[in-house]
């Protein structure tokens, strides 16, 4: 098996620590995802899967346990180091696509590289154009993000998530806001990216039929991981190696 991209050991998360209303929402989650895997994270609303995704995405800190991303142990890192690791190793696709509306599709895809390097360059624009072509939006690269349809915006978001060639792409309900046809197209696009680039995907979803099409399915209920099974996904090239 390929080396793990993501490793969680006894991850716990509590809110209102030290007060009378202290609540633990994640009760020690162990989980490991190998390079190139295409995984789904399912569970009912309020089960803690979004919290888990935020912790994995380094947007939030766990209250206990160990989290490694791309071989880097994160518990000892300060805020700036976490930010840097997040920028380089993790790509995000959000439910409401969350593009910057003041910018074009191309500029949105360039943005993670621009954040990393500070000044724009032709090389960035070239890579962004290549990624947009890959997601089938070459024609729309100069359209303002706000002028694109929901499905198109989500495809731009996927291209953006891949801009920094991250080890891991986290998607929070990426199809939750789309009609069935667009949802399907977006999902297939993510699978294609997984196959072509060997990028690891972890997708939070409510859609069971989509989840079944993933390689692995993690199920979280009441802050506990109760299932880790294989879906009906065709083995990706990267995972086979």
């Amino acid at each position: 098996m390929a080396k793990p991209v993501l490793q969680l050991e006894r991850i716990r998360k509590s809110y209102n620590i030290g007060t009378a209303v202290e609540t633990e929402v994640l009760h020690g989650i162990d989980l490991s995802v190998a390079e190139g895997e295409f995984c789904a994270l399912i569970g009912p609303s309020g089960s803690g899967k979004s919290t888990l995704l935020n912790i994995i995405g380094l947007l939030d800190r766990a209250s206990g346990g160990r989290l490694s991303i791309a071989g880097c142990e994160t518990s000892g890192l300060d805020d700036a180091e976490l930010t840097q690791l997040r920028g380089r190793s993790i790509g995000f696709v959000f439910q409401y696509h969350h593009l910057l509306n003041a910018f074009t599709a191309l500029e949105n895809v360039m943005m993670p590289m621009l954040v990393e390097r500070g000044f724009p360059s032709d090389e960035m624009a070239g890579r962004a154009a290549m990624l947009l072509e890959k997601v089938g939006l070459a024609r729309w690269k100069d359209s303002k993000a706000s002028n694109l349809s929901g499905g198109q915006q989500q495809r731009v978001a996927i291209a953006r998530a891949l801009a920094m060639s991250p080890s891991l792409v986290l998607a929070d309900e990426p199809t939750g806001n789309l009609d069935t046809a667009s949802a399907n197209a977006v999902f297939e696009l993510m699978q294609k990216m997984n196959r072509d680039y060997g990028t690891t995907f972890l997708i939070v979803t409510h859609n069971m039929s989509l989840a079944e099409r993933c390689q692995r399915v993690f199920e979280v209920v009441d802050g506990t991981l109760i299932g880790d099974r294989h879906g009906k996904y065709r083995q990706s090239a990267a995972a086979v190696e």
């Binding site: 995405g57 947007l59 930010t83 840097q84 593009l99 360039m110 943005m111 954040v115 500070g118 920094m164």
Partner: protein, 408 residues
């Protein structure tokens, strides 16, 4: 995206353009504030310059005179007690002791423009049966004209003085019925009786001065008032008129002469100028503060509106410092652009002022102009104020946790 522009600039300018209504409102606010500040400063500077030029039309900034004479009782019996009553003696017309030395000393002081000796005393100007009391002032023209611009105030004739030439005011000329080239006789208490030729007639803008002041050469005046080679006063001007009192006190201390500045001799006027300065500063300060609060409040709203974008940028790896700079830059841009537009407004307002605020004879009430340095300083201060105003909103944006920010 331009290649040489940094991320923060690209984001700041796009965000400002995206919320164009908000941006226009706040830039207008800054412009109005800046234009009020620049316009008022120009107006008040012009007004003060006009006041001061009127004051110094016939007067130096500091006048040095011999110290007052005091009675000094002799006490030469050791061991005995005296009870003394001093009576202030009348002040004779005296020369400044070793005035050349004092003059040289004053000339060497930093910040001094010119020092000019003068021998003046009371006299009568006589023509036919008319006699008028005058102040006969002996001057060294090349120095004195740099203090009082007599050549510029001449109505008729020339300011070039020979031994028996005299310059008189318009009022005295009409009282005596003389004009350029006419003769008049000057009689002094010291017994001199000299005939002068009127070389020029001046108007210093003050009836009393035009009636009393009469200027002749220093060497001519000295013997006439009984002071051979002596001078009664030394007029001094300096670069910074508001330092006159400090310089006067310093001269008095080091030379022992009596030094009076225009600030003391025109105390009422000075306090008017001063209170005007203070109220001007206060108005500018409060306008400035309200501009800063205006920028701050709009940016606070903008941070709330943009929290989702901030979250996305943070998720992409943007540091807190980058977010902080992004909002500080927005404040700076708003402040700078507003100050440029505001200065433009100020030029227009001043144009209107100069066109419409006129005396009955059509000349402007006073001249006012916008100093380029003031515009530059205002632009800089407005930019810095913009950054200061943006500080709190920017800190707030930088402190936003990405999770909270993305949820909005």
């Amino acid at each position: 995206m331009r290649r040489f522009l940094p991320l923060e600039w690209i984001l700041a300018s796009r965000f400002l353009r995206e919320g164009i209504m908000q941006t226009l409102l706040i830039v207008t606010g800054v412009s109005v504030g800046v234009s009020v500040i620049v316009f008022m400063s120009a107006l008040l500077t012009g007004l003060q310059a006009s006041f001061l030029s009127r004051i110094f039309a016939a007067q130096a900034q500091v006048v040095l005179e011999p110290p007052d004479e005091v009675a000094r009782p002799l006490r030469n019996e050791p061991g005995s007690t005296f009870l003394t009553i001093s009576v202030m003696p009348s002040q004779r017309l005296r020369s400044i002791d070793q005035w050349q030395k004092v003059l040289a000393l004053v000339q060497r002081l930093p910040g001094i423009l010119v020092a000019s000796p003068m021998a003046s005393g009371a006299a009568f100007a006589v023509r036919g049966e008319v006699s008028k009391s005058i102040s006969l002032m002996g001057i060294e023209p090349e120095r004195f004209y740099r203090i009082v611009d007599l050549p510029g105030k001449l109505v008729r004739g020339t300011s070039k003085l020979e031994v028996q030439d005299i310059l008189i005011g318009t009022q005295l000329a009409s009282d005596l019925g003389v004009d350029v080239g006419d003769k008049l006789r000057v009689v002094t208490g010291a017994g001199a009786n000299v005939e002068f030729t009127v070389r020029g007639i001046f108007d210093l803008g003050n009836k009393g001065v035009n009636q009393r002041n009469a200027y002749v050469l220093l060497h001519t005046a000295q013997p006439m008032i009984g002071l051979t080679n002596g001078v009664t006063s030394i007029d001094v001007t300096m670069h910074d008129v508001y330092r006159a009192e400090d310089i006067a006190q310093y001269i008095a201390t080091v030379s022992g002469v009596k030094a009076e500045s225009w600030i003391k001799t025109n105390a009422d006027f000075f306090s008017v100028v001063n209170s005007q300065k203070i109220s001007n500063t206060a108005i500018r300060l409060f306008v400035g503060i309200s501009v800063v609060f205006g920028i701050a409040s709009v940016l606070v709203v903008s941070v709330v509106q943009k929290s989702r974008e901030i979250g996305i940028l943070r998720a992409m790896g943007a540091s807190r410092a980058q977010i902080l700079r992004l909002f500080l830059l927005q404040g700076a841009i708003v402040g700078f652009v507003g100050s440029l537009i505001g200065s433009g407004f100020a030029y227009i307002m001043l144009g209107f002022w100069l066109a419409y605020a006129r005396r009955p004879d059509g000349t402007p009430l006073f001249l006012a102009e916008i100093d380029t340095r003031l515009v530059l300083a205002t632009a800089m201060i407005a930019t810095v104020s913009g950054i200061l105003a943006a500080l709190l909103p920017a800190l707030r944006a930088a402190r936003l946790e990405p999770v909270v920010a993305i949820r909005g």
